[in-house]
């Protein structure tokens, strides 16, 4: 997938690195015992620590440590058995302590890797630079009051994992695929719910451009807090084009933080971040270095689920799926589980067809997750069994499936109740054929005279006579015999 911006002076390529803030799934905050739940009334989930009250001290949440290690393992990354919390000092209305407790030169997770599943079925490896634990800030509300901003500290202190990619991404689409894949892995691991609308997954994109063939990195701009995969892709495309336009008109790009305006589809300078930053990081003296041993990491490793890449490989080998289909199925753990429940002991390709086209279409139309599918995996599996044992033709199976969607009933009872069983009794079909032959002597003559293409019409007539229940295969076999001159 190549993405080249054609300029007047030549071709440009885009260099993208993503910083993702993923909210750790935990009951309480990173350094306090207040709830980390989303959506409570203002300042109701705030401990005195989260409010930066005098004399308050942080104590780390063990579960957040485990979640970070778990995520690091999922990203095949180096786990640092000794890491250090540092204070990142700056003033902001929703940052009560006047600093954010984060990790700086010694993060809990070091270099790792994330595999992109490309649309052509191929893969591309993107480097992970690091993952570190840090506190979230509170929330400023700017539009409720004319001359004031309102501050809610419920999110203040919630644990985040900041996951930083290497500048390995080259197209907006790759950035989108990276984000979706990362979200998929986090969800598999159960370390972040990946919900971008609620802000539990937030993305900053670092974007620069350079002439194709050049290897130097040019000045980058950071686009902050883009809140959907689509917007990330749009923001990058806009920003890259802006850089090219600036360079080609003889200008220079200033390193700065920008905001993406989704309504206008453009990025702009963040006014509040104008002042040059100097975060004065230093080790937090309220905390000691975070340390654990091999056994601790091994214990967490033993509980990891099968991750998307492994599952994909297995689906290819075990079920004979192609890379693309397997990639689509494993992106979501529930989808993959549903598929496996259907495919196990059955024709896997048939199962994939039914899941990927019929089931997904229904889910998309209804906008529900597969866990709320009106057709359970068990029922779908039995429907496939009815096809395999010739009880249903695939056309009839589609009709039964429609009823299953509406009623949630199992396929057998639908077939029973509607008398929808395929007729495989030769005698019954022969009787219907005889009737059709008797009533359509002219057509029979035409056929016998060599107009064999009207066989389809005869099949249709027999199906009609049997209310669509005749086995189509049996039908054409018998018709061929009967019509033989």
């Amino acid at each position: 997938m190549s993405y080249v911006i054609k300029g007047e002076t030549g071709d440009w390529e885009v260099v993208i690195g993503l910083e993702v803030h993923a909210q750790v799934i935990a009951k309480s905050k990173l350094f306090s015992g207040a709830s980390a739940d989303f959506g409570a009334g203002p300042n109701t989930q705030v401990s005195f620590i989260d409010a930066g009250m005098p004399g308050m001290l942080p104590v780390i949440n063990e579960h957040c440590v485990a979640q970070a290690v778990r995520t690091g393992l999922g990203l095949k990354a180096k786990i640092n058995q000794r890491s250090v919390f540092a204070r990142k000092n700056y003033f902001y209305a929703d940052m009560p302590q006047g600093y954010q407790i984060s990790q700086y030169d010694m993060p809990i997770v070091g270099e790792g890797m994330l595999i992109l599943d490309m649309p052509d079925g191929g893969t591309r490896a993107i480097g992970i630079e690091r993952l570190h634990l840090e506190q979230d800030a509170g929330k400023s509300i700017h539009d409720m009051h004319a001359s004031s901003s309102l501050i809610d500290l419920n999110r203040s202190g919630v644990a985040l994992m900041e996951i930083v990619s290497k500048p390995d991404l080259r197209t907006p689409e790759e950035a989108g695929i990276y984000l979706k894949k990362l979200r998929s892995i986090l969800r598999y691991l159960g370390t972040c719910d990946g919900n971008m609308e609620e802000g539990s997954l937030r993305c900053d994109a670092n974007v620069s451009v350079r002439p194709v063939g050049s290897v130097d990195l040019r000045t980058r701009c950071e686009i902050k807090n883009v809140n959907s995969v689509r917007f990330v892709m749009e923001a990058i495309a806009y920003e890259a084009q802006r850089h090219v336009d600036v360079y080609e008109s003889g200008g220079a790009i200033a390193q700065e933080t920008r905001l993406f305006d989704a309504n206008k589809g453009e990025t702009r300078t963040m006014r509040s971040k104008e002042m040059a930053h100097d975060y004065r990081y230093f080790p937090d003296p309220d905390l000691l270095p975070l340390e654990f041993d091999d056994a601790y990491v091994a214990k967490i490793k033993a509980t990891l689920p099968e991750l998307p890449d492994d599952k994909k490989a297995r689906f290819i080998t075990d079920y004979g799926l192609n890379a693309y289909d397997a990639g689509v199925l494993v992106a979501d753990q529930d989808n993959a589980a549903y598929f496996e429940a259907v495919a196990k002991g059955r024709d896997a390709k048939l199962a994939n067809n039914w899941v990927s086209s019929n089931v997904f279409a229904v889910l998309n139309a209804r906008n529900v997750p597969i866990t709320e599918s009106p057709v359970s995996a068990k029922h779908l599996g039995r429907l496939l069994d009815l096809i395999s044992d010739n009880t249903l033709s695939s056309r009839m199976a589609k009709d039964v499936f429609e009823i299953m969607i509406e009623t949630g009933k199992d396929p057998e009872s639908i077939v029973e109740a509607g008398g929808m069983k395929q007729i495989t009794d030769t005698g019954a079909i022969e009787a219907a054929i005889d009737q059709v032959v008797a009533q359509n002597a002219d057509k029979v003559a035409q056929y016998r005279a060599g107009k064999v293409q009207i066989m389809g019409w005869f099949v249709g007539q027999v199906m009609k006579a049997t209310q669509g229940k005749a086995s189509p295969a049996l039908c054409s076999e018998l018709l061929t015999k009967k019509l033989a001159p």
Binding site: P54, L57, F91, Q97, G98, Y99, S147, P285
Partner: protein, 492 residues
Amino acid sequence: MTDLTSLTIAAARDKLANKEFTALELTEAHLEAMDKSKDLNAFITTTADLARARAKESDARFQRGTAGALEGIPLGIKDLFCTEGVETTAGSHILEGFKPPYESTVSQKLRDGGAVMLGKLNMDEFAMGSSNLSSYFGPVKNPWKAKNRDGDLVPGGSSGGSAAAVAGHLVMGATGTDTGGSIRQPASFCGIVGVKPTYGRCSRWGIVAFASSLDQAGPMTRNVRDAAIMLTVMCGHDPKDSTSAPLAVPDFEAALGQGVKGLRIGIPKEYRPEGLNGEVAALWDKGIQWLKAAGATPVEISLPHTKSALPTYYIVAPAEASSNLARYDGVRFGLRERGLLGDSLDSMYSKTRAAGFGTEVKRRILIGTYVLSAGYYDAYYLKAQKVRALIAKDFTDAFDKVDAILTPTAPTAAFGLDDKQDDPIAMYLNDVFTVPASLAGIPGASVPAGLNSEGLPLGLQVLTKRWDEETMFRVCQVLEEAANFPSLKARP
């Protein structure tokens, strides 16, 4: 009735238990003393009604036989400790009016032990100072006076209100905090005992932070036994402070009376710099003789990085403080200063902090901001951390050879309240003998050991290795007995 304010904590404890007087009577006697000594300006806030209520509760517990280790003992709490519902200012305008909805772990432990809080004691603003001149609520006066000189003296600092209140018999004991000498130096200036325990002994939870890697709470009392009694109640593991040691609390009082026979006492040669005050040097020599007479062996030792301790401290402490004090921004508590209508958030921050902090605090915040800033971190902050490691190692090496170290507490006796103190570095030198132990995190205590020619108290400092406060108390007690220090009488 004997003057109740003359008693030691140990004596009052026994007499309360024997029902010779009530906790309420003991509290009333001290409230009266406080009233008469308002001129000292030792308190920022007095809590007489609360004290009476708590004294009555103590009496009830005596009746029920459920008295705690400090039941009914009237204490003062440095205004750096957050006290539930009671204004806590840290000596600063920026926290004026702040009423914490929580109680610091140390003051809670004292409360749980039955102690009666009489009020919040004056201090240098945010514990930054060695004179108490930097308090927004005005200077504290040392109850001691020079023999041949007029004028009030400083009590030292930053726990100056605590030292003055204890020395002046307004309270039986007080909490202090020590970051670079803030318990020991004022104890020396006011002729009382001040103990800074090992870093991690006392929880820092609920104590307004100055420099987190150095701050330690400790007791200030009129004798060694009282300090041991108070410290036993104050310290102990606190899961709310990540730097609090998960160690059992020794009964420090039980360590007393064991003498120093056989102990090796280190005498660091670097603590006798050229130009050391002759009277201070002489008292130190006397101290060595007292310990020798009691069966200890003085050993000359070297702490080679002593000279670097003060400049190291003046990088580390301001750096941490610049960050710790960022939360005073006018948003959630304390002072808020606004300019014109439509003023920006940043402008509110800058105005609030300019108006709310005093000169010395601002100076340290600026120094701390500078040494952490881009391009200077390695040269200043990282360098200081490395030198700090060397200073700590000096002590570790020394404690391979000796059981305790004896030094002077401060280079001078208390100076005049009106002495011009315009040179910050000259002021910083007050802590030259106390800062190294703070950087190393080891325990240290100051014991009043004698008077200078002006009749002003001088203290000796005893240092031991981490977690060995028991040896420190033993040495202190031997010095105390030998010195027979003429403590101030309760004020008439």
